[in-house]
């Protein structure tokens, strides 16, 4: 990627976002590891794991925002790519257990032993090597997205139809992964991980490192998204979002653009899933549940569709609310709150938190400018209006 793409992509809010994420990515692990436990400033390990989870969700939200916010593709099956990435990582982690499983079988994971697998299924080979697993984390979701997108975009399945068939896709995967014959551990999924790259996944140091890595991945994902949306390709994406058929008549091959950005987004979701799994310690088919994917879209809507910072922020805010409200006396009511949040945000805050804030700021700027202009000169082009 050429430098001008990077420089172009950094405006003020992007820079602030990057600095904050980088700061947290450094400070939280340091505070967790260096400060004595119990001190007021020390971040307890369970919070590190929690924040790491949020960071992964934020990457997922970015990937959804990239296609929905900028290209108008509402995927209600992005959880599938997230989960596929997670499974690829989970398979690596399972292979790392080696003979420390409860049955002590050096090759077969525990669930295969008690379901009497005679040998490792062919698709489990190679996952004992990290580089291979890491490649699969990106490749498998990317390939699925490419095939799915190639079929769907070429035949111009758009709007709600696309949303519904993405639901069908993730639902079909959900059913498939639930099957124990499929060789991915069925409903229990993959769990009881021990090591990642030789480090104990439960050690504080590993957790801190994974958190820092998640922040780094978030930064990289953010930069990639910014680079894409601020390039001319980003303008084409927005053009497709706003007037797909116009874009076609201008001579753009809309399906190629959609396919590119959809695949890119799926790869990002896969990476998010891969980082998520060692931090939460389990990957199981419920990650494919259609509801999960819809929920991820809500994060983006809450934060602000079409603003990358908003998407990441939305993921963190909604998930923090979920963490907060599922404990304590409000626990029985949290679904009411979650549901109400979805309704209120779509009704009252259609641009999300960041989008609304931006609009407010711009309208203020525009008013100031208009005042200044009308004082100076009436140029007849027409009165400046606030954006939309």
């Amino acid at each position: 990627m050429t430098p001008h793409i990077l420089t172009r992509s950094l405006d003020r809010s992007a820079t602030v976002f990057l600095v904050v994420v980088a700061g947290l990515g450094v400070l939280i692990p340091l505070s967790n590891l260096l400060l004595p436990s119990g001190s007021a400033l020390q971040v307890p390990t369970y919070l590190v794991a929690l924040f790491g989870k949020y960071a992964c969700y934020a990457i997922l939200a970015l990937s959804i925002d990239l296609i929905w916010g900028y290209c108008g593709i509402l995927s209600l099956g992005h959880g599938a790519f997230f989960a596929l990435g997670g499974y690829a990582m989970g398979m690596y982690l399972m292979r790392q257990i080696g003979s420390r499983g409860v049955y002590g079988n050096p090759i077969l994971p525990d669930f295969m032993v008690f379901l009497n697998y005679p040998a490792l299924p062919w698709y489990w080979h190679g996952f004992d090597m990290f580089w291979f697993a890491a490649l699969m984390v990106v490749l498998v979701p990317g390939l699925l997205a490419f095939c799915f997108g190639w079929l769907a975009f070429r035949s111009r399945v758009t709007g709600v139809y696309l949303s519904i068939i993405t639901q069908a896709m993730t639902y079909a995967l959900l059913l498939a992964f639930f099957r124990n014959d499929f060789g991915f551990g069925g409903n229990n999924g993959l769990t009881d991980f021990k090591d990642i790259l030789g480090f104990n996944v439960q050690a504080d140091g590993t957790r801190a490192a994974l958190f820092a890595l998640s922040c780094l991945a978030l930064i990289v994902a953010f930069l990639i998204c910014r680079a894409v949306v601020t390039s001319k390709l980003g303008k084409v994406l927005i053009a497709i979002r706003d007037a797909e058929s116009r874009t076609r008549f201008l001579g753009y091959r809309v399906e190629s653009y959609k396919l590119f950005v959809f695949t890119l987004s799926a790869c990002m979701a896969g990476v998010a899933g891969a980082l998520y799994v060692p931090q939460v310690g389990i990957i199981n088919p419920s990650e494919y549940a259609p509801g999960n994917s819809i929920e991820a879209v809500i994060w983006v809507a809450v934060g602000g569709r079409g603003t990358l910072v908003g998407a990441a922020l939305g993921a963190v805010v909604v998930n923090y609310a979920k963490t907060y409200f599922t404990s304590g006396p409000l626990a029985p009511y949290w679904l009411f709150m979650l549901g109400a949040l979805f309704i209120l945000v779509t009704l009252l805050l259609p641009k999300g938190i960041v989008g609304t804030f931006n609009a407010w700021r711009e309208s203020r700027k525009a008013t100031e400018k208009a005042n200044a202009e009308s004082a100076a000169l009436e140029d007849g082009v027409g009165e400046p209006k606030p954006a939309e």
């Binding site: 002590g104 008690f114 069925g186 409903n187 389990i282 199981n284 599922t326």
Partner: protein, 438 residues
Amino acid sequence: MVTKLTHDIATLSRRRWLAATAGLILGLAAFSNAKAQETIKVGVLHSLSGTMAISETTLKDTILFLIEEQNKKGGVLGKKLEPVVVDPASNWPLFAEKARELITKDKVSVVFGCWTSVSRKSVLPVFKELNSILFYPVQYEGEESERNVFYTGAAPNQQAIPAVDYLMKDEKVKRWVLAGTDYVYPRTTNKILEAYLKSKGVKQEDIMINYTPFGHSDWQTIVADIKKFGSAGKKTAVVSTINGDANVPFYKELGNQGIKATDIPVVAFSVGEEELAGIDTKPLLGHLAAWNYFQSIKSPENEKFIKAWQAYTKNPKRVTNDPMEAHVIGFEMWVKAVEKVKSTDPDKVIDALPGIEAKNLTGGTSKMLPNHHITKPVFIGEIKANGQFDVVWKTPGLVAGDAWSKELEGSKDLIGDWVGKKCGNYNTKINKCGGQGS
């Protein structure tokens, strides 16, 4: 006049509202003050929303009820017990997150929770890492014995195998349909049963295995297949490990297609009083369930418990079931262990628990074993028209729970022993810990 009245009402309601708010704030303050007092915290990790709420909500209420009863008796070690309830919302990673929160943030001494195997698997690394205690109250597939987990539900040998024995001996069943939901518990149980049946001389062609997805609702084809399989001239029975929600449409279809218990009896391992409360049981008369507890069992302990429970829930029709009893036993064992070592320190309690005995509700005394499973009686009940079970058979004594199934190739040499051998997967053949070895 009217305006004055509305004004009054408005002021009144505003005042009320203010008072209520103030009360709430005070209440919260009192609540947090109470926290400052020395209590022993007990974590409750059961889903209150989502798909598993249907089963788990009752267990949350059970623990709250047990804590209240215990506190009436003066608590434990002179301290009151304080429940900390969280909602993992039927979401497995959230189970792990909430478990972590309960142990590190709320500093609970023990957690009662989980229903599905996957939720247990999800929290297991957390309990190991943070060294805390989980009481798991549901019948499960076995093949596990962990230091930090105490399994108060049935292992396969405490439910599945006695049930099959009963059908073989008493009903002379020769042909078997093993129908289950496609997840680990039915898979493992059916694997164990298949091996067991074959060891009893049942041929492969007399065993039909069928798996369906969660929440399967269209049972026409499968019930017809069962009917067909059952009309081959040999006495046939269905062993059902069908999970929760799928049972209602399954039994409805059975009833409507006219399969009576006298023709093809169905013995279920996941259908209890709670599930039957949602079904019209008249067509199901005589179908069976195997559990370690039935509400209809007559014993002074049980009658007392049911009475107190119905009073606590203010619902004279509220039913009780097997996982509830498991919590009752587990809770009492934990209390006794804590009182024995006069501490809630997890290591001490874990070491003290094996050997602890507690009265179960069916008139016997269950004992915690070194493999962290307990001894339980096994009952076979027939469904009655009133949604209860009529016990038609029971084991002569208590059955000790096997962590590792003797019927499976991978685990037949393993035992769990946290007292002598200090591990959960001791291999009796090579005399060391670590599974099958290599």
